[in-house]
């Protein structure tokens, strides 16, 4: 015969699981919407489990070792059967629903053995899981009622369980072990969560992205997906023929109002000054001179050069230059910071940067390669020979800018636009700048780009030689002050041993000793704006930094070039949409260092801008967490110090502190000089429990196999007894025995409650010194 509590508990458990089962069936039937189908399936499964439950109760079925296997089976079963269903019947469920079915099955399985407390708890927990799953994945109105019922039943179950446990405890009189390790884990998790909360949003975001399998953004599409995550059908092209991206037939004839990148550059950096007539020359070998001279002239003619000697930019009153959400030039999904390159420059004549030649790149012949059934435009690349690279994928959507160049990170490897499966739509604008053969990039279309990123951190220890590559990347202007710049470069890189260390030294020096000031322009009649920036003003716009980095690197024999483009800043990352907006103010200049095999590394010399780094793994994220925690601690160091000292003191004196707290607790409960006879037993028992804790704290625990009274009476060295006389000890021992072992309804006539109270108080306030371990 089972006690009433147990059968009540079992009944409630059954009701909870049935609720979860019904909710699951409703969610499953969401797509079909036929009530009779849902109910009949619910009843059929319910009946089978019910019969098994009855059988289990009657036969007193005990779970065997097979239970674990069975549990795994019912949990994983739906996932394994799914492909079969899909192939055979053409029906199926999305991944999250398969998981839900697994949880429901587990709850039903546990119900069969739920008379055992362990399985009852498992049944409740799994049904709770299933219920939460259901609520979050469907908006069927009936679920609200079922959820309400589930909650009420759950509360009832908790109440019944509490009472029955209380009763069991009272009958057994056992002290149940406190699950300290569990508390510890919960505390650590809470602490971790709190620490995470206290961190800047960007760090937090970087830590959690990609942790969940259903985070989305993976481009995975599932024919059976319900909605939202994993529903790859969300992006539907306007037409099957992807030759035109125009949503309207007359779209090609409408002239866009978007500013071109050139306009944005001009507006941001100000107009170039009219060139002065002074001696400028390039230190080119004679055989290259003619060709480059010709190129220079051509570029100047088409205004594609970029002068670093410019006028002060006008205040940004252009509407299209404001950083409003509606004014974003493009949206980027992927790791930030990201340098999106638009044009590269190789020759520098002291004032102007000449863009690289638009030469046909035969080596990089474009072709279409299907990846996951999507067309990707790729070309042969040589793997980098000595550095580790990691592939980074970005998706960008051009909104408000006119350019036909595919804005992409360095070392581009492939481009994909959905339904765009012809390689002749693309071409090379420069050495490694891809362009579309049309006037602008298609607006509102997602462009996926894959690039191989060389993390500057990986180059740190390597002693690679960066002094090769085309001669164009090493050309230095010859003119007034160039020798000073060269001397400066040698000065700065004196301590550097390897080429990369030189690069780092130059970059670090620029970032630390120079200030970014977009309005700082060279004075009139300045013969060498770069020298003026490096030696006099120590401040300037970002192109000055890029130029300085490139020229200084070239001065010490490192192949280098400058790049103009857009900078996707981590500050503009939006957590909600997981994308970064790029605004007109994000136009940027930076330098790139050649590391061989057509691979480049971004050299970001402008303060306030960050170098692109590879996406962090989980371990690295943990590292970031620790580091940012440390930074926080350093930032608020007085508080940290106080917490540290308090914690240290607390740990050192923890026994004493807790012991004192216990004494106060006793005083709080039994104030006054006497305990009423009715409370005498409670007082003594409380004293025993608190004393036990005090003894444990002082590392002199009482022997559990002997009664407290006998130890008090017989052992004068018993720590709590040392202050009492033998008579008192014997008296108290008798009182303790009475409180612990005499019938509850019996008062002690032989004990004076005032004396016992006094003796107990003296015991509670006695300091028990921690035993010294030799």
């Amino acid at each position: 015969m089972q006690p009433p509590d147990v059968s009540r508990q079992y009944g409630l458990c059954c009701a909870l699981v049935v609720c979860a089962h019904l909710a699951t069936e409703i969610v499953l039937g969401d797509q079909h919407g036929q009530v009779w189908l849902i109910l009949s399936k619910f009843t059929a499964i319910g009946l089978v489990v019910g019969i098994l439950c009855c059988y289990s109760v009657r036969r007193n079925w005990q779970p065997t070792g097979m239970m674990t296997l069975l549990a795994i089976g019912v949990m994983v079963g739906p996932l394994l059967i799914e492909p079969l269903w899909r192939i055979l019947f053409g029906i199926g469920h999305p991944y999250e629903i398969q998981l839900l079915i697994g949880f429901r099955n587990l709850a039903l399985l546990n119900l069969i053995w739920a008379r055992t407390i362990k399985y009852e708890r498992l049944a409740i927990v799994t049904s709770l899981f299933a219920m939460l799953f259901c609520i979050s994945s469907s908006n069927d109105p009936s679920l609200i009622w079922i959820c309400g019922l589930f909650m009420m039943l759950g509360i009832c179950w908790l109440c019944v369980k509490y009472w029955s446990e209380l009763r069991t405890d009272c009958v057994r009189g056992e002290k149940r072990a406190t699950p300290w390790p569990l508390f510890g884990i919960v505390a650590v998790l809470l602490l971790g969560a709190l620490l995470t909360m206290s961190m800047p949003a960007t760090v937090r975001t970087r830590m959690v992205e990609g942790f969940m399998p259903s985070s989305g953004g993976t481009g995975r599409a599932d024919a059976y997906a319900r909605s939202g995550v994993g529903d790859g059908d969300g992006l539907v092209a306007a037409t099957k023929e992807a030759l035109s991206f125009a949503p309207l037939e007359d779209a090609p004839f409408i002239e866009g109002q978007e500013p071109s990148l050139y306009d944005v550059f001009q507006d941001t950096y100000g107009e170039p000054k009219v060139p002065k007539k002074f001696d400028r020359a390039l230190s080119l070998p004679p055989e290259l001179f003619n060709k480059n001279h010709h190129r220079m002239a051509k570029a100047k003619k088409s205004s594609r050069t970029f002068s670093i000697d410019r006028q002060t930019p006008q205040p940004k009153n252009h509407r299209h230059l404001q950083d409003t959400p509606s004014n974003a030039m493009l949206h980027l999904v992927g790791t930030v910071p990201c340098h999106l390159r638009e044009m590269t420059y190789d020759l520098f004549d002291g004032t102007e940067w000449i863009p690289e030649e638009d030469r046909p790149n035969h080596e990089r012949k474009l072709s279409v390669v299907p990846v996951n059934e999507k067309p990707w435009i790729t070309w042969p690349t040589r793997p980098s020979q000595f550095v580790v690279t990691s592939d980074e994928q970005h998706a960008l959507r051009v909104l408000n800018v006119k350019t036909n160049r595919v804005l992409s990170p360095v070392n581009l490897k492939g481009v994909h636009i959905d339904l765009c499966d012809r390689a002749d739509l693309f071409g090379w604008a420069q050495e490694d700048i891809l362009t579309m053969r049309r006037s602008t990039l298609p607006g509102m279309t997602v462009i996926h780009v894959v690039s191989s990123l060389i993390d500057p951190r990986d180059l740190k220890g390597s002693d690679i030689n960066l002094g090769y590559g085309q001669e164009n990347y090493q050309v230095l202007p010859v003119g007034l002050g160039m020798s000073e710049i060269q001397k400066l470069a040698e000065d700065w890189t004196r301590d550097a041993e390897t080429d990369w260390e030189k690069v780092l030294a130059i970059g670090d020096r620029l970032r630390s000793d120079y200030r970014l000031d977009p309005s700082s322009v060279p004075p009139e009649n300045c013969s060498n704006p770069l020298l003026w920036f490096l030696t006099e003003s120590h401040s300037g716009p970002d192109y000055q930094f890029a130029t300085a980095a490139a020229v200084l690197c070239r001065s010490v024999g490192i192949s280098c070039r400058t790049v103009s483009g857009l900078y996707a800043s981590p500050d503009k990352y939006e957590f909600a949409t997981q994308q970064t907006s790029v605004h007109p103010s994000d136009v940027h200049w930076w330098a790139e260092v050649y590391v061989g095999n057509q691979s480049w590394v971004t050299l970001e010399a402008t303060p306030g801008y960050e170098q692109s780094q590879r996406t962090l793994g989980i371990l690295a994220k943990a590292g970031v967490l620790i580091v940012s925690g440390g930074e926080l601690a350093i930032q608020y160091w007085p508080i940290t110090l106080v917490i540290f000292l308090l914690t240290g003191w607390g740990i050192r004196e923890r026994e004493r502190i807790e012991s004192q707290l216990l004494s106060w607790l006793w005083e709080l409960q039994f104030r006054g000089s006497e305990t009423s006879p009715g409370r005498l037993r409670t007082m003594i028992l409380t004293t025993i429990r608190l004393l036990d804790r005090k003894l444990t704290l002082s590392r002199t625990p009482r022997s559990v196999s002997r009664t407290f009274g006998s130890q008090l009476a017989a052992d004068p060295t018993f720590p709590v007894a040392s202050s009492l006389s033998e008579v008192d000890r014997k008296y108290l021992s008798r009182a303790f025995d009475w409180a612990c072992y005499s019938p509850r309804n019996k008062d002690s006539d032989a004990l004076e409650s005032a004396r016992v109270h006094q003796l107990c108080r003296s015991l509670m306030h006695q300091t028990i010194f921690r035993q010294q371990h030799s």
Binding site: G173, S705, R706, T707, F708, S710, S742, P743
Partner: protein, 327 residues
């Protein structure tokens, strides 16, 4: 049902306690320096159990038994067990009376209130088992005729642990009928000197071993009834059962504690409680009687069973009072 000391008239109780103290005192005088043994013997007596003394010859086993019988004012009998001792020598037998032409029952020593079975392991198993019924059920059956024994029937058996030849070790069934096994052990030097002194003085006296009777007939029985009515709290009983269960699972104990053993143990603890002038049993009472009670009935694969019993007791935490009910 829970009858306590308070249910008896206070003066009578006082008197009985006083007499018990007097008996203890007399026994202590007779057996120098063995107050703890005397205490255990009294516990065994009050618990209505039988006592097995296992020790070397000449340590005072018989002295103790005779003194006890004298103090109790009971009839004392002694059987010297030898291999040729017959069951009828112990229980008694029917003798045909030529004059009356009828069978007459001649009572054996078992009909005494205190029986000393000396060197019990020298008797044959047949004779040993004749004692079995007498000890367990306080009755003997001869020729299908049942003869009840006095209610205070108390067996003190002795056995010699050294000699192996010509002995029949007591079977477990027989051992379980004893409440306790005690070893008296050698006295201290001072006690031995006191004993020698006393012997010179006492040589003149006529009764060498007997002590004056302390109890009136029936008083021992009412004492025993008082003891059996002392209450034992459920958490203390739970502790007792836990220890019992542990003996059944211990790797070095091949025969655990029987339910009868639990009953006897509880009764012994009650006796100790009575002697300590308390009216509730504590785990201390159980622990104090653990070795004599357990060593007689546990099958321990060791020459030193005390060590294992002590270990066992130390393994199991004693209960503190159950938590206050919140209902």
């Amino acid at each position: 049902m829970n009858q306590t000391l308070l249910d008896h008239p206070a003066e009578q109780q006082e008197l009985l306690r006083h007499k018990l103290d007097r008996l203890r005192q007399l026994l202590n005088e007779r057996l120098k320096g063995k107050s703890d043994i005397v205490e255990q013997v009294l516990i065994c007596l009050l618990a209505q159990g039988h006592l097995l003394l296992e020790d070397q010859p000449g340590l005072g086993k018989t002295t103790l038994a005779k003194a006890l019988a004298g103090g109790l004012g009971e009839q004392f009998a002694r059987v010297q067990c030898t291999p040729d001792l017959l069951p009828s020598d112990v229980t008694g037998f029917n003798l045909f009376n030529q004059k009356s032409q009828e069978f007459e029952f001649r009572k054996g020593p078992v009909f005494a209130e205190v029986l000393l079975a000396d060197e019990i392991n020298r008797a044959t198993p047949r004779t040993q088992s004749a004692l079995l019924e007498a000890m367990a059920e306080r009755q003997v059956t001869i020729d299908a005729q049942r003869y009840p024994l006095p209610e205070t029937f108390f067996v003190i058996a002795t056995q010699n642990p050294i000699e192996q030849h010509g002995t029949y070790p007591l079977p477990e069934a027989q051992l379980d009928r004893f409440a306790m096994k005690l070893s008296i052990g050698y006295p201290e030097q001072a006690d031995e000197i006191a004993m020698l002194d006393q012997a010179i003085l006492r040589d003149q006296s006529a009764s060498r071993d007997s002590i004056p009777a302390v109890f009136e007939p029936g008083e021992l029985l009412s004492l025993q009834q008082l003891v059996s009515s002392i209450s034992v709290e459920s958490h203390v009983q739970e502790y007792l059962v836990k220890v019992g269960h542990r003996t059944r699972k211990h790797s070095r104990i091949h025969l655990g504690l029987s339910p009868r053993g639990l009953l006897i143990w509880q009764r012994c603890a009650q006796s100790r409680t009575f002697l300590a002038e308390r009216d509730y049993v504590t785990p201390d009472d159980l622990q104090a009687t653990a070795i004599p009670v357990l060593s007689v009935r546990l099958g321990i694969d060791d020459t030193q069973p005390q060590g294992i019993i002590t270990e066992l007791i130390e393994e199991i935490p004693v209960p503190i009072a159950p938590k206050e009910s919140h209902r």
